[in-house]
């Protein structure tokens, strides 16, 4: 990314977006889907409403997208 101020000679001590950012976004997406999908699955098992599992996953996906926007667009 061209916005990054990090240079190989290490003249910048506060690096901008880099390879790590992409992996971090992925980790948020997985985390969100796993957490809310898991909660949805548990409640769905408990109440017998199976559709709560995909709903939870979608909700988690949406929330982790919101998190990505919050974390990476307002710096």
């Amino acid at each position: 990314m061209s916005r990054s101020g990090a240079r190989p000679d290490g003249t910048n001590d506060r690096p901008g977006p880099n390879e790590g950012t992409g992996w971090r976004v992925m980790s948020y997406l997985i985390g969100g889907m796993a957490l809310y999908g898991g909660i949805g699955w548990l409640i769905g098992r408990w109440t017998g409403i199976a559709v709560l599992f995909p709903i939870g996953m979608l909700l988690g996906l949406g929330l982790s997208l919101a998190l990505v926007v919050l974390r990476f667009t307002r710096s």
């Binding site: 990090a6 190989p8 001590d13 690096p15 390879e19 790590g20 980790s27 948020y28 929330l63 998190l67």
Partner: protein, 269 residues
């Protein structure tokens, strides 16, 4: 060599000889113990891990046993390796103040790389990192280090607070977002770090096995010869690809380690 490979090569199982293609499977990743002490089996992957550690130690030992201001011979290579890790992996993530992590990252990179490269070395032909335990152990070290770093630089409470509360988020959405942050930083990170390395090495080794075994299986004096030649050429091409992936996976593992360290040291986002 695992049982299936031995069976294939020893029995001369070929096309049109009445036996099916002995497809490689996960069985090929389990080895007969080299020796056994009590209930402890010492297997080939363990030997390879020790060998990899010994190679890294011997190489850097030889390179810097008597360091000269103007490097020559193996010292040149050693400096090249260390400067690569410093300038391509450490500095872009951590900046100059991260130089104290250089020994750890250099060891990590070269240890993983050597273990990966074993996958294409003739007669060894097994990437030790395709046994899940090795990536997991390495990831555990990284995990403990970055959690400790974070708690030491920001305080135990401050670390988790900075981790869980994204700046600029409205307060009412925090109960929904904070669990994702915590889960992704504490559990998903080490999970993906280890899985990425392990799965890449496992899949790469399987792929090479499929085409190498197919080349041998199809090798008959018939139309099979053509198939065998094709499969053999693919084996060569895929080996080149594997060499690339092995270096790349070691690079990614180390880069992400540096990134997690930088993230833990950062006081606010």
């Amino acid at each position: 060599m695992s049982d299936i490979q031995t069976m294939t090569t020893a029995s001369g199982c070929h096309l049109f000889s009445g036996c099916g293609y002995p497809a490689p499977s996960i069985e090929d990743f389990y080895f007969k113990p080299i020796f056994t002490i009590g209930s402890f089996d010492f297997t080939k992957p363990m030997l390879l891990a020790i060998l990899a550690a010994a190679i890294v130690l011997a190489f850097f030992g030889a390179a810097f046993a008597r360091p000269k201001l103007v490097p020559r011979g193996v010292q040149n290579l050693g400096e090249l390796g260390i400067l690569f890790v410093r300038d391509q992996i450490l500095r872009p993530q951590l900046g100059k103040k991260g130089d104290r992590f250089l020994p750890f990252l250099v060891s990590l990179f070269f240890f993983i790389w050597i273990m990966n490269i074993f996958g294409v070395i003739p007669l060894i032909e097994f990437p030790a990192t395709s046994k899940f335990a090795f990536p997991v152990a390495l990831t555990a070290m990284v995990w403990v280090t970055y959690m400790t770093l974070g708690m030491r630089s920001q305080g135990p409470i401050g670390y988790f607070k900075n981790m869980a509360v994204p700046a600029g988020a409205p307060w009412w959405i925090l109960p929904l977002l904070s669990p994702i942050e915590l889960l992704s930083n504490i559990f998903v990170r080490p999970f993906t770090l280890s899985i990425r390395l392990f799965a890449n090495m496992l899949a790469g080794h399987l792929l090479l096995l499929v085409f190498a075994l197919a080349s041998w299986y199809l090798f008959t004096f018939s139309i099979g010869l053509l198939f065998a030649a094709t499969s053999f050429v693919l084996t060569i091409i895929l080996t080149a690809l594997e060499v690339l992936i092995q270096a790349l996976q070691a690079f990614i593992f180390t880069t992400l380690t540096a990134f997690y360290f930088a993230d833990a040291l950062e006081t606010s986002h």
